[in-house]
């Protein structure tokens, strides 16, 4: 508490002596400049650290910075990471190290690990156990290979914060209902998209006669478009290139589907309540 107050007043006075008093465990403007931040960057950091009032968290801020630099990130990247995810100021050093170590084990080598942290810093706020669960789930419930799991975490890291029940539902929908295999799911970055987006585009194509669920032998009468050709693309492209439909039609369709699914959900919850 004390610390925060001094930080704020220090900022007003452009004078940071009070902070510099405990140079080993605390954050000072000087130490930030030494790390290579510019004046403005250093001030931004001080300011955001000061926002975590009352938690005594600032003592972790320095170790977090050190850890991020330890990964080989440059000051600009470090600042970006912390701006995206200020929570990282509050994570214990030992936890951070564990989490990074675990990501290495999961398959993130130098380079890809750094890219992951910059793209989705939240990953370092997630407990090791949670990540292990997700990996186990993807391996055992969805039968992805080790490499595919790494690819999924790389392309769609937010999956680690999702409800696995929902993820499983999405996987089953795409696997059984659409007949898409794991490799293609990875390629299309399936887990970046909400189930309803996937379902809506799929159902639209299906009802237009452009998509068909394969039979037990994996055969269809028509050639289905590849998942990544209609999921990864912008809506305009989806409509003109794949669905060959007008935006008006799709807009009505989306609203109809939303209502249909809402009513299904309500129906199911009523049955469960009975």
């Amino acid at each position: 508490m004390q610390n925060n107050i001094t930080l704020q007043s220090a900022k007003e006075n452009h004078e940071l002596r009070p902070l510099a008093q405990k140079p080993d465990s605390e954050l000072s403007l000087r130490s930030l400049l030494d790390m290579g931040f510019t004046d403005t960057q250093a001030e931004q950091i001080c300011e955001s650290v000061s926002k975590f009032r009352g938690g005594g968290f600032t003592k972790h801020a320095l170790s977090s910075l050190t850890t991020l630099f330890g990964l080989g990130l440059n000051p600009t990247s470090v600042l970006k990471v912390l701006q995206k995810c200020p929570e990282l100021y509050t994570v214990k050093e030992s936890q951070l190290q564990q989490r990074i170590g675990n990501l290495r084990k999961v398959g993130f080598v130098e380079g890809s690990l750094q890219r992951l942290v910059v793209y989705y810093p939240q990953i370092l706020t997630v407990p090791v156990k949670t990540i292990k669960n997700v990996v186990l789930f993807l391996r055992e419930k969805c039968l992805f290979t080790v490499q595919q799991v790494t690819d999924i975490l790389r392309d769609s890291p937010a999956i680690v914060q999702e409800d696995l029940g929902q993820v499983e539902y999405k996987f089953q929908y795409v696997y059984f209902r659409m007949g898409v295999k794991q490799a293609e799911m990875v390629k299309s970055r399936l887990f970046r998209f909400k189930l309803d987006e996937v379902r809506c585009r799929h159902c639209f194509l299906e009802r237009r006669g452009l998509y068909e669920t394969p039979d037990k032998k994996g055969q269809t009468f028509i050639i289905n478009p590849k998942l990544d050709s209609f999921l990864k693309v912008a809506q305009d492209t989806f409509l003109t290139e794949v669905a060959k439909a007008s935006a008006e039609e799709y807009s009505v369709f989306q609203r109809l589907m939303a209502r249909e699914w809402q009513e299904e959900d309500r129906h199911h919850s009523r049955i469960e309540a009975d």
């Binding site: 539902y169 006669g209 060959k244 439909a245 007008s246 039609e249 609203r255 109809l256 209502r259």
Partner: protein, 371 residues
Amino acid sequence: EKWAATRPKNPPTRLALQHFDATYSVQLGNLWPSVRVALLSERKYGALVNNFSYEAVLANLQAQGCRDFISDTHTETQSCFEQDKAVEADKELGVSMKTSVNNSQQHSALQLSPSIKCVVFPRGDITRFKPARPDMHGLLGYYLMDAASVLPCLALDVQEGHSVLDLCAAPGGKTLVLLQTQAIRFLCLNDVSVSRTLRLKRVLNSYVPKQFLSDEMLRITSFDGTKWAEVESNTFDRVIVDVPCTTDRHSLMEDDNNIFSKSRTAERRRLPQLQLELLLAGIKAACPGGEIVYSTCTLSQIQNLSVVEQAVYLARENHGIHLEVVSLRPLTHMFRKTFHFTPDLQLGEMVVPHLAANFGPIYMCKLKRLT
């Protein structure tokens, strides 16, 4: 496993879809995917306003954001097809049929009965109607039906004092439209199915006051319509022949009582013959100078154009009745804001479903007895 749920291998709805894919992709060409997705999605309704109700039905419905599509025809500026250029460009009908019919396209001025009102929610709006409620006399304020089903009734052009035959009338949607005109001197309602005729009577009782249902004004029968000539012929000013058909929308959505179920194959194959016989019976029932409207709710060319073409031919060859096809272009032109019509159909007009205006399918063709 959730998605591989066990369901019958080939349910009738699936068979219907396979059948339609095979025939309509040829018949409608590039238009088919757009019609297909509409058929497989929730349809839109229209609310036929019941003039016999004591409530301010129309005003109430308008307050909810609907409009009477029949009077709302003034906007000549832009047709809905023009907004939909991508689709429009693809529109083509693979109909290759040499019409041997005397197709004199007479463009007489359209007179529509001002008392027929049917409200719909705007294009692209998916709001649903609430079920109608009875007024203080127990009469319902509106009847929910496919708004496109009103068109064959409008096409029939009932005039003051006419006698009218509705050969396949149950459950009575089109009958109710005709009754709204309050112009009919005598109305004959028939349907071969006794149970459906009972339903028709229930509908009439829920919408029309007793005094308009007296024996002098109304007759309800359950004959086989194909044998109508054995009862009477050369009688009616107007005849509507709304035949049983493959009811495309229903066949895609409901497995129960589906005409594509294996057990009904023979019945389904006989449909075009039954339709032809019903239309011929309707033609014979009309008086010389009288007019007949044939209608279905299928896209099938074999049940639509081909039936009319053969009926016109057989009426002349076997019965010496000469007919003329009355153009419905003025009508479709008038309502192009509300419905999607197939362009350039050789014979008759057809409303095709579209997601933004999900009415139909409805086919209609109007004939006039010259002799």
